[in-house]
């Protein structure tokens, strides 16, 4: 008796699984011209569930609407993003494998961890930027009369090497942002690395183990709202829409802008027509209302740039990153 039930259950499970398989096959129909004829694989160099992954999944959903095919995100992680970045550069240039490149690409050559640079890709568009901040422990700031960026810098100058700021893992964007801050203002602070990510750095700063962090507003948000941390300045051109009260560094007289960036790219030697079609889809995706809503909820800033501007931007940022890394001795 029982084995009969078991067989029935098994056959039901198998049927459902096969149906699900069929359904996955659907959805790849339509589209303009001959490209794309099938689903596109999108390489994400960072783990599922992280900031890059979330942004990329939402963007792919939006690109899929324009292209009429399914874009499947494939997380190829490891080696600080090197493995995934390498996989994008090495992919078959047929337009069916694309990927997201991130800020860290600019650091590999300088660190000596990989020979990859932005020149190994054909950039499609910039999708998102998140600015670094100068965010400090509120109690510590009050005890030392630090109320704005100027008083923070004065304090750091009076106490060289004493102020400790957390900035995510070694050679990560927030770590290098600290180096950039030192280079631009001439202060001497100690950057503490947090290999496990920004969350621990933020918690340590809120508890007073270190004096502050350079991470993005989104990452420090809950402790800024609770009053444990105060953000003295955001390293952006304009104020963040979600934090209209937080001033930029620029409006306080320090021309410091520094942000992480994420964009779409394809390997070299892709057919120009296919590239043009993908660029079109990227432009449409950046305007997609669902994508915009998602990014706003997620606290990430959309800062679309087309292929040409993004290429120039990557070139400029490679030089900036290299000089900031010098300041940190990386």
């Amino acid at each position: 008796m029982r084995s009969k039930t078991a067989k029935k259950v098994l056959s039901a499970v198998v049927t459902v699984a096969m149906l699900a398989g069929l359904m996955c096959g659907c959805g790849s129909s339509g589209g303009s011209g001959s490209y794309p004829e099938k689903g596109i694989s999108v390489i994400c160099p960072w783990a599922a569930g992280g900031g890059t992954d979330a942004c990329l999944r939402a963007f792919c959903e939006a690109m899929g609407k324009d292209l009429g095919v399914t874009l499947t995100v494939d997380n190829q992680t490891g080696g600080g993003g090197i493995l995934g970045h390498q996989a994008i550069a090495d992919a078959e240039p047929d337009g069916y494998t694309i990927g997201m490149i991130t800020f860290e690409l600019a650091t590999y050559e300088k660190l000596g961890t990989s020979e990859l640079t932005w020149e190994d890709y054909d950039p499609l568009c910039r999708v998102n930027t998140d600015a670094a901040t100068v965010t400090v422990n509120a109690e510590w700031a009050a005890a030392n009369n630090i109320t704005d960026l100027a008083s923070y810098i004065d304090y750091c100058k009076a106490h060289p090497g004493e102020v400790q700021m957390g900035g995510s893992s070694n050679a990560s964007v927030w770590h290098i942002a600290g180096g950039y801050l030192m280079q631009e203002t001439g202060i001497d602070i100690q950057m503490i690395t947090y290999q496990e990510g920004a969350a621990t750095a933020v918690q340590n700063a809120a508890s007073g183990f270190i004096q502050g962090v350079t991470v993005s507003l989104a990452e420090a948000r809950s402790f800024i709202e609770s009053g444990h941390l105060i953000c003295l300045g955001v390293m952006d051109e304009e104020r963040n829409a979600s934090f209209p009260d937080v001033p930029t560094c620029k409006e306080q007289g320090y021309d410091i802008t520094y942000f992480t960036q994420r964009g779409m790219a394809i390997p070299k030697n892709v057919d120009p027509e296919i590239k043009a079609r993908l660029e079109e889809a990227c432009a449409a995706a950046a305007e997609d209302p669902d994508f915009i809503e998602f990014m706003n909820n997620n606290g990430q800033t959309i800062s679309y740039m087309n292929s040409e501007d993004y290429t120039a931007f990557l070139q400029q940022s490679a030089a900036d990153v290299a000089s900031a890394m010098d300041a940190l001795g990386l």
């Binding site: 569930g49 490891g78 290999q195 340590n204 909820n297």
Partner: protein, 508 residues
């Protein structure tokens, strides 16, 4: 504590058909994913996040918590049946779970694991409901120094899981510690034992492929060896599973282990950066030390299974505490849950208890529901899972091998990890042959990096003054416990070895 509101929230969540369905679905998926080595609850949650975009907050949180709780239990199924922990948090369950299954008590082991998981989960959820602010304050006080000492305390359990010989246990542990030093160092990114060209080892030996290799692949190699030499005896499922829940006499024996396991799990889970994988070993060590018959641990007694399974499910409640009250995730699953909250426009953190209290209470209710769903799924599954033991070994081993290698690959989609997995399979097989315990390697792999990065960070912040550690009461307490545990376990081990000489093995 607003009991009226809490009651209303439970009512609203538990009687909502959509939430019920989603949570049950999540628990089903979680148990299955957890049972497959290499597929973790973290992966399940990450993959299902996009599907929850269209849903309301509570059904989607129910789905994700279902996977989380289900996965915590699911890991024990393969640990008990095939000596391959499905998730890192089930790594200590096989210490007693697998011997039980070899004795022909697979069904009993599974039901003990399920019952303990449920109770541990309930303890975690209760602590979360009533003591969140208190526990969150404690978690805030954990800085680099405290984390370092917590890791040292965790390492002190090594003797308790070493088996017969302390020396062999220490050799295993130091081998594990040595493995941790491969790759880029966590503080400055300096390559150790590798060149930059070896991209597969930049992050060192990946934990899950190593885990799968040491246990599952090694077991397959030993099994094949036994088949060739004709020693393999096919276990008939002679065990009649009358009840899917453990009987009263078993529950009477294991309840102290469940209670302490649940509390240890909740406490350790609440510390950001420390999770189920550490809690299970600490709980196992604590149960063994407190037991009147420590010599029976490792021979297949339900107490060992109860101690570990209650601890890893207790963790789920514990890890939710810093997530909701500080906005700091306690482990990798809650890190993804944090994203799920933010996408719905709610930022977990100190302000959530003020501005979103009804939502907080609904999450409490959803976690309780998720544990109940896990129990239901587990009850339905025990009979089926236990059948795996009676599958002919010649068919079972190739299947385990394929699933293991797939699991090792799927973590990073990196073929190099498959090689790592196979290599550790051979190492594990050799160590088994010469009776070196494998668990100390795992504990070292889990705690080594945590020890190192927190120690270096602490020394950086204190400008090289290690004595500053004595200014932290938490760190001093952990240090004292660690020393006490080491002294106690050495004496305990001597007693065990004496008794082992004569004693006959039976349930405690």
């Amino acid at each position: 504590m607003d009991f009226g509101l809490l009651f209303d929230s439970y009512f609203a969540v538990w009687l909502n058909p959509q939430v019920l369905f989603m949570t049950l679905l999540g628990a089903c998926g979680g148990v299955l994913l957890g049972a497959i080595p290499g597929m973790t609850a973290t992966m399940g949650v990450a993959l299902l996040i996009p599907f929850s975009f269209g849903m309301d907050l509570i059904p989607s949180i129910g789905l994700l918590l279902g996977i989380y709780c289900g996965g915590m239990y699911g890991g024990s199924i393969s640990a008990i049946l095939i000596h391959a922990p499905g998730t890192p948090s089930a790594a200590a369950t096989l210490l007693d779970g697998y011997p039980m299954s070899q004795k022909g008590e697979a069904g009993r082991a599974l039901s003990v694991a399920m019952f303990s998981s449920f109770c541990g989960g309930v303890i975690g959820a209760l602590v979360m409901t009533f003591l969140s602010p208190l526990v969150a304050d404690m978690a805030m006080n954990f800085g680099p120094g405290e984390m370092f000492m917590l890791a040292v305390f965790g390492l002190s359990v090594i003797i308790a899981i070493s088996g017969k010989s302390i020396v062999k246990g220490l050799i295993s542990a130091f081998f594990g510690m040595a493995l941790c030093t491969v790759g880029l160092d966590p503080t400055n990114g300096i390559p150790r034992f590798i060149s930059y060209k070896q991209t597969g080892l930049l992050d060192g030996f990946q934990f899950i492929p190593t885990l799968i290799g040491l246990f599952a692949v090694a077991e397959v190699i030993s099994g094949v060896e036994r088949i060739i030499s004709g020693e393999e005896k096919q276990e008939k499922s002679s065990e009649k599973i009358k009840k899917v829940l453990p009987d009263l006499s078993t529950i009477k024996k294991i309840w102290p282990n469940i209670l302490s396991g649940g509390l240890i799990g909740t406490f350790i889970g609440a510390i950001p950066g420390a999770g189920g994988d550490i809690a299970v070993f600490v709980s196992y060590g604590a149960s063994k030390s407190a037991s009147k018959h420590p010599e029976l641990y490792g021979t297949g007694i339900p107490n060992g299974v109860a101690a570990t399974e209650s601890a890893n499910n207790g963790c789920s409640g514990g890890a939710m505490i810093p997530l909701l009250s500080l906005g700091v995730p306690g482990d990798s699953v809650t890190a993804i849950l944090l994203g799920a909250f933010i996408m719905k426009g709610i930022t977990p953190g100190p302000m959530m208890y003020i501005s979103e209290l009804p939502t907080v209470y609904k999450v409490f209710a959803a976690l309780m529901l998720a544990n109940l769903c896990m129990l239901i799924v587990g009850c339905c599954g025990v009979r089926f899972f236990a059948k795996i033991v009676s599958v002919e070994k010649k068919l079972l081993y190739p299947i385990i091998l394929v699933i293991s290698l797939l699991g090792a690959y799927s973590i990073n989609k990196n073929v190099f990890d498959v090689g790592v997995c196979v290599a550790f399979g051979v190492i594990g097989w050799l160590m088994n042959k010469y009776e070196f315990p494998l668990s100390p390697i795992l504990l070292a792999l889990i705690l080594g990096p945590m020890c190192e990065k927190n120690f270096v960070r602490f020394m950086n912040i204190q400008q090289g003054n290690f004595m500053a550690i004595f200014q932290s009461p938490i760190a001093v307490v952990f240090m004292a416990i660690a020393v006490a545990v080491i002294i106690f376990s050495v004496f305990n081990q001597r007693k065990i070895n004496k008794r082992m000489a004569g004693a006959s093995a039976s349930d405690e």
